[in-house]
Symmetry: C2
Subunit: 335 residues, 2 copies
């Protein structure tokens, strides 16, 4: 087999078939993908269906703590999980740049397969396109996912009310800083690893324990502040954040200082934000603290009725300021 | 609003929100997409679920008879339809190149919306990423689709048997030649239009009328020959094609002659190939001929047991030759 991607790998001809049989099937192999029909057909338990999609264009493809493959599976799994769906099946669409080393593709595919196993989901349908050298940046991946949703599940930011509490499942900004460090050749000590991880098993247990949860989100692009502003606007409430309850690793804070970033706006890829009634907080934290990806969970703020649509940060020194969504971009191609 | 795509349109911040609210929501608007949660949640009728995905990188974005938007909806709808699924919901993931005129994006999105209406499907979840100038070719689109599959539906190339007949729903190679003409500035008279179209309504009626259908495919990349070779290999049968029964427009044949292409290998984006028992042929043709996209349907060949895995063309002058899959690429970035 050729050791680099050629235009013909995207042709639907023999080389395309070889790529599927030698790279994708061995890694993702399952009984639904194997027939290689135009679509995969499966059954879901009775209930509703959740569907989501994301394209991944992260630069660089490999970064401390993860890579585009782990990101492409985790991101879509997490989007389903925070919507109350049990993620089950994923599609994978690859756009490859001519000349990409086959070994790079294999490494990414193997990481996708490992992350899918961790999350308990199957990649059941896919597609590969190849574009000329200079028409992509190595490779881009799209994943779409479907999951099963319990009929009783009614998550949605609209139901957030004054008095509800806001939990974040851990420290903020690690994915953003890991990408930044990889891109800028920044040596942080200790190294900052991306938090990229599939949260579905933890969040599923959480929903069973705290069924009153109003809304969940994974604060990726735009970070925690963007998620909370969207919630405040949708629900017509204010959200007060307590700075002293937010966790930011010292190396993350240092890198942010250096580059003029704010960790509250940086992307996370393995954290969830949860809005829930105060009475369910103790049970929720108990579940989260038992999980590796939720060890750092804490209440970071609460919902109030005073200034609808606003997110207000109470600083450690007793001041407060309104934190709005950014117009622009802190760090492009973060995911 | 800016008149070109900026990196910040992919940020998850205010400009990203504006793009969603001013471009995507007005075009695709429906009650499932509107809440803009991380995933959309819906119900499907009792039965099985079909899922598929394709990325679209066609060059140029606009071509005679269609554009990347019509292609991105039709291609995914057709992949579901030929698998026996009733297409219902689509996701749309956009990768935009910095500097893309907003008017180009709007034109593509409007074409996607029109094609989705024609097909009776809804675009319910999506994502936009922006990459730097020179890192994509205008825009790429991924669509994934889910559909409902009747429990009784058992399509699959494995069940094709000697004696089964092969129907093609119309003339071959028009999409390929339309792209070629647009790319090379070739003036054909009359102009060749891409056949890109959603076939789901026609194929659904077909399946109800001819429930014994064994397999269906839309012969896109690699054309009719690639589809038939895959079937011959999967089912362990031979397929004999009669050249005189295949329809190719004179301008398509002429362009192929000029560029050294074979229309049997060129992509179609609005045709289906159908394998079915001989006794269902009359009823099937009757349904197909009633539909605009099936007017040219005809039996083009039959399945035999003689040389398993082979596709044999009986030429108009009485010869025969084996037609194998291509190793390489006739025409890259066709879809």
């Amino acid at each position: 087999m050729e050791d680099r991607i050629l235009m013909a790998h995207g042709s639907g001809g023999k080389l395309a078939k070889q790529l599927t049989e030698e790279v994708f099937l061995p890694a993702f192999g399952n009984s639904l993908l194997a027939p290689l029909e135009d679509a995969s057909v499966f059954s879901l338990p009775r209930g509703k269906v959740g569907m989501t999609t994301d394209s991944y264009v992260v630069k660089p493809l490999f970064f401390p703590g993860g890579d585009i493959g782990r990101l492409a599976v985790s991101g879509t799994v997490n989007d389903l999980a925070v919507s109350g769906a049990v993620p089950m099946y994923l599609s994978a669409g690859f756009i490859l740049e001519e000349g990409l080393p086959l070994s790079t593709l294999k490494r990414v595919v193997s990481s996708m397969a490992a992350t899918a196993r961790e999350a308990g989901v199957k990649i059941i349908t896919g597609d590969t396109k190849v574009v000329e050298k200079g028409m992509a940046d190595g490779l881009y991946i799209n994943t779409a996912g479907v999951g099963w949703v319990d009929e009783r599940c009614q998550l949605g930011a609209k139901s957030i009310r004054p008095g509800d509490q806001i939990i974040v499942t851990g420290s903020l900004g690690e994915h953003g800083v890991a990408i930044l460090a990889a891109r800028e050749g920044l040596e942080l000590n200790p190294e900052v690893l991306s938090d990229v991880a599939p949260l579905n098993k933890m969040l599923q247990e959480l929903l069973e324990t705290a069924p009153g949860i109003k809304a969940m989100r994974d604060p990726t692009r735009g970070g925690l502040v963007t998620t909370l502003n969207e919630w405040a606007e949708t629900a017509g409430v204010a959200i007060r954040l307590k700075e002293e309850n937010l966790t930011v690793l010292p190396q993350v804070a240092g890198a942010c200082e250096l580059f003029g970033f704010d960790p509250l706006y940086l992307a996370n890829e393995g954290k969830a934000v949860i809005a829930l009634p105060a009475e369910e907080v103790p049970a929720a934290l108990k579940v989260l603290h038992r999980h590796h990806y939720g060890k750092g969970a804490a209440v970071v703020g609460e919902v109030t009725g005073e200034r609808p649509g606003m997110v207000i940060l109470e600083t450690s020194i007793g001041g407060q300021r309104i934190i709005d969504m950014l117009a622009g971009e802190q760090l492009p191609r973060i995911c």
